[in-house]
């Protein structure tokens, strides 16, 4: 029997606001434990939560980018559960009235466009971080209260590959809307998977399992592929899939049982009594849409259609926001779009990989790169020399012009100077003209070699060749 895999994804994303969702303590990462907290984060009695404007703004930005309907009356609910990562005993979240509904992302999978429907986006707060030891756990409340958005798809995803493509695109959107650093390995973006299988053609859903603890997009794909196979094996051997929560074990490359459905908690959701419904200013919501930064899919389209960049390269450029932003700035200074792209994806990326750095950590600026490209275009230096200039530029705080000057790299592009040099060489080696007449290539190579030797490689090679052949022809005639 052939089965179809049915997948829905829940993504949590930490917002990079300055302060927490409901309290004015600082949002930071990697600070000393329990130093970024106040009474509200610790769930002390007598405190009241007050909603952060930027938290709402960032959520709206993502809603717009995902083409969602926005509920301008913001309401919160309490999700009650008793666990040590939650000092209040409940999490403030949006259950009944999420801020965003009905969105989508179109992704390309194996050359086909797949429409992934998004059911909802809601705002909530993060929990405290627990470190588990053999017999006890330690709690750091710095993370408690950091703004989160949760983005939930409908069960419209059909393969691990498609799930990975969706997550890649969603991650780019989170980066381009500038709301999060969206790092799965660091937990600022987290993904839970709901997965079931059913016979092809069936319109009923099978029994689903949930997979948690996925720390990279590639692990999401692997976990889905494994879990679909596992469910298929169960069904084919006459057993049934049990509704349960599993986690992906990277070492085993398998999903393993975490808890069965019997342990499911009743969260007793009810409206958060400490936050009155908040009516957002319609003009404000609309202005957030108007000021939405350019989205990755729009950039890809623009790079291909306006700047004539190859589709594959356009996708690579856009996949790294920093590089794409750098490209945008550089092409304000030079129109050599494809050359800028080639430099960024070639030498610059190679350098970044080798040094394990990001662009902002290097000495390269859009001005320097644009100038370097212009120098090559204007034949002040050769392409080969440009690579040397680039290397120096990355190591020393100098402009391309300074480096060219210091290295004495300026090409000799004066026709008169070059012509005089040829004539002297040809006069001294008349056999070269004879060689040329006899159709021997080495004549040209020999003279060019001599010119380069005399100029220490600074003669413009293209011009040198052209002029020489002209001169030889003249002498043969």
């Amino acid at each position: 029997m052939n089965f179809e895999v049915v997948i829905g994804l829940e993504v949590h994303c930490e917002l990079k606001t300055k302060s927490k969702m409901f309290s004015p303590s600082k949002v930071t990462f990697g600070e000393d434990v329990n130093t970024m907290v106040n009474e509200i984060d610790l769930g002390m009695t007598g405190t009241l939560p007050v909603l952060n404007r930027s938290g709402v703004e960032y959520a709206i930005r993502v809603c717009h980018a995902l083409h969602m309907d926005i509920d301008e009356l913001v309401r919160f609910d309490r999700k009650n559960y008793y666990y040590s990562d939650l000092p209040k005993g409940f999490q403030i979240t949006q259950d009944a009235h999420p801020i965003g509904r009905n969105g989508y992302i179109d992704v390309e999978v194996d050359g086909k466009t797949r429409h992934v429907e998004i059911e909802r986006l809601h705002m909530e707060e993060d929990t405290a971080k627990q470190l588990h030891y053999a017999t006890f756990s330690l709690i750091d409340y710095n993370r408690a209260g950091i703004p989160l958005i949760e983005i939930v798809t409908r069960p419209t995803i059909r393969s691990g590959k498609e799930a990975a493509a969706y997550l890649e695109e969603l991650r780019s959107i989170l980066l381009y809307t500038d709301v999060s650093d969206a790092k799965m390995e660091e937990g600022s973006m987290r993904c839970d998977v709901n997965i079931s299988i059913r016979p092809f053609g069936s319109d009923k859903f099978g029994i689903r399992t949930e997979i948690k603890n996925l720390n990279s997009i590639s692990n999401v794909q692997k976990a889905i592929d494994y879990e679909a196979k596992r469910q298929e094996r169960l069904l084919l051997s006459g057993k049934e899939v049990l509704q349960e929560t599993r986690r992906y074990d990277e070492g085993l490359k398998e999903t393993v049982l975490m808890r069965a459905k019997g342990d499911a908690v009743d969260y007793k959701y009810y409206p958060e009594p400490n936050i009155l419904p908040i009516r957002l200013d319609h003009q404000w919501v609309e202005s957030i849409k108007e000021h939405l930064p350019e989205m990755p899919s729009q950039r890809v389209k623009k790079y291909i259609e306006v700047y004539g960049i190859q589709e594959k390269d356009a996708h690579i450029l856009v996949s790294n926001k920093e590089i794409s932003d750098f490209f945008e700035e550089t092409i304000q200074l030079t129109q050599a779009y494809r050359l800028v792209c080639n430099w960024l994806l070639g030498d610059v990326s190679a350098y970044l990989n080798k040094q394990n750095q990001s662009l902002s950590e290097t000495r390269l600026s859009p001005e320097k790169l644009a100038r370097l490209i212009t120098c090559v275009q204007e034949e002040i230096i050769s392409g080969k020399q440009a690579k040397t200039v680039f290397e120096v530029m990355m190591e020393e705080d100098k402009t391309p012009d300074q480096i060219i000057e210091e290295k004495g790299m300026k090409q000799i592009s004066s026709k008169d100077d070059l012509l005089k040099m040829f004539c002297d060489i040809l006069d001294a080696h008349p056999e070269s003209v004879n060689d040329y007449v006899a159709g021997k290539d080495r004549a040209v190579k020999f003279v060019v070699g001599q010119v380069m030797k005399q100029t220490r490689g600074q003669a413009n090679p293209k011009l040198t060749n052209e002029l020489l052949i002209e001169e030889l022809k003249r002498r043969c005639a």
Partner: protein
């Protein structure tokens, strides 16, 4: 379950210690409270929307995103029974 057992169980869950002397008074108050609830239950609420807030109002205030108030780590951990490496130490219950 008799009232005394029920109240003891609730006390345990909500971390209130109830003494034997307090019990008769609590049982009395419990009866008053339950009568009150029964009186409320007799009201016909068919077609009435539940409400969360005493007034049907909307607000517009949003807090500016500035970190303006934090407390020191010493203060934050003062109430904790068990602190290890500046963190609150709790029994391990992996959820």
């Amino acid at each position: 379950m008799d009232k005394e057992t029920l109240l003891k169980k609730l006390g345990l869950k909500t971390m209130f210690r109830i003494s034997d002397e307090e019990m008769p008074l609590l049982i009395q108050e419990y009866d008053i409270f339950m009568n009150h609830v029964q009186a409320l239950e007799s009201i016909d609420t068919t077609g009435v929307e539940p409400m969360t807030f005493p007034y049907d109002i909307e607000t517009t205030f949003l807090r500016e995103d500035e970190p303006t108030h934090m407390i020191s780590r010493e203060e934050a951990l003062k109430n904790a029974k068990d602190v290890t490496h500046h963190q609150i130490r709790v029994p391990k219950v992996v959820g």
